[in-house]
Symmetry: none
Subunit: 276 residues, 2 copies
């Protein structure tokens, strides 16, 4: 249990740069999507602003965690601006246990994944009772999915259960979310215009495609012995970062587009003023 | 008195990670609830904006203190960016007395707990005389409750009094606050709609449930010898952080919901524009 988050293997300079640059790309994408969305909320009608603000909150939370992960990673591998200890050629570092804190990703997901479902439902502008019923099921399921995935990813063998068991347990709420989004929510789509229905279907596909990266990366990173190797860690960090950028930044920008189109549909004066 | 806030025992890597990640979760929750609430104040009628702004102030003050606590904790256990001393395997640190400043929590509570009662009363939009009379009693009682709890939590034996005596003294203003909220304030609820009454009752229960965590954690952390062990400190930090997130972020977001519903009830044009 003492070994949680401890990387006892070394990365080559090339591997280090790959993760380092991806995490920096994560910071840039999350931070500036956030600033854009916070300010762009005024370009939709008041009834759609909360959906855009929740999208901005998601990317803001992720920006904070990418800053933390970047520092944690740089520090764990000793190649930060202060010390400039190069970790080339697979040598290990000169201080004992180098920590790269995997917890940041899970805390980020615990907060952002439920909020992604909130923005997805909120932007449709459904009747309050329907919206509330959908969210009361989606939000706890999303939190449960993340909480059950964590013990597997950190190789805790919590309650004596194997990583793959935690992975499977986490799949149950995932399938439930898919059911609610594909079956229950589809009923509410009939009131939407053709254009919105298409965008929404694209959004749902983006969600399943990007969320699919997490379990695939998770399985790949289990390795043959059940503990990840250096190159497993690199694939995991690169895979998670690309998935995060698509699932949060691209997703949030599509939410903004939907809110713009629905605003123009609802109000002709707004549409004219905004050049729609 | 020299031993205030001094952790003379070591945490395992797992215990360190648990507290470290909880404090980071605290930062993320407080900071982004704050940004959301500051901007979301425009989504309620002007008469309810001060209540939302006080909620945003509470989470902002807490965000500051969570940044401080995160740094204080990381530094006390030597795992910060400057020193990079890993604290693995239960070894103690190589610099003398590692301070984790417990004072931050109490300074935070001294400011935020009275403000939580201000937002709770302000959002009801009561007659000014009633509101003022309630706050003149609730605010000093809340400050007194925190001030009397502090000497017990730091094991100061101030004025020769035992920790448990300070804990008991702190309970007196707590019970008075409960009396005001459950008996006095209930009279004012008759003018509110059914929906608001239900939300308000939930809010009061959230308040008593989360505030209850503090004395329970306090009692648990007293330990058998009167001084906390490493695992007592871990439970205390984790317990306080979860209670803080519920009592400030969730509480503030419910205040925002109440303000939204009351805005929609008061003004039909606002309700229509906001999609209520």
């Amino acid at each position: 249990m003492d070994q949680i988050g401890v990387l006892s293997y070394a990365l080559t300079g090339y591997q280090f740069s790959a993760v380092y640059n991806m995490l920096s790309l994560g910071i840039a994408s999350m931070l500036f999507t956030s600033i854009f969305l916070w300010i762009a909320r005024d370009r939709v009608l008041p009834k759609y602003r909360l959906a855009v603000m929740v999208s901005a909150t998601v990317t803001s939370i992720a920006a904070y965690h990418y800053f933390r992960m970047f520092d944690s990673f740089s520090h764990a591998y000793g190649m930060n601006a202060d010390t400039a200890v190069a970790n080339a050629g697979g040598t290990s570092l000169d201080f004992g246990a180098a920590h790269y804190n995997v917890g940041y990703r899970y805390i980020d997901w615990l907060l952002t994944v439920p909020l992604l479902l909130v923005e997805l439902v909120a932007v449709l502008g459904l009747v309050k009772a329907v919206q509330s019923s959908l969210l009361k099921r989606l939000v706890p399921a999303a939190a449960l999915m993340i909480i059950l995935g964590y013990p597997g990813d950190i190789h805790s063998h919590l309650f004596g259960l194997d990583n793959s068991v935690w992975g499977l347990l986490s799949t149950i709420p995932f399938l439930y979310i898919m059911y609610v989004l594909w079956v229950e929510l589809t009923k509410s789509l009939s009131s939407q215009s053709e254009k919105i229905r298409k965008l929404f279907q694209g959004l749902r596909l983006l969600l399943i495609a990007t969320w699919g990266v997490y379990p695939i990366t998770f399985i790949l990173a289990m390795g043959q012995t059940g503990a990840p190797s250096a190159s497993d860690v690199v694939s995991r960090e690169v895979g998670y970062t690309i998935a995060d950028i698509l699932a949060k930044c691209l997703f949030g920008l599509i939410i903004f587009s939907i809110a713009r189109i629905k605003s123009a549909e609802d109000d002709k004066a707004f549409a004219a003023a905004e050049g729609h």
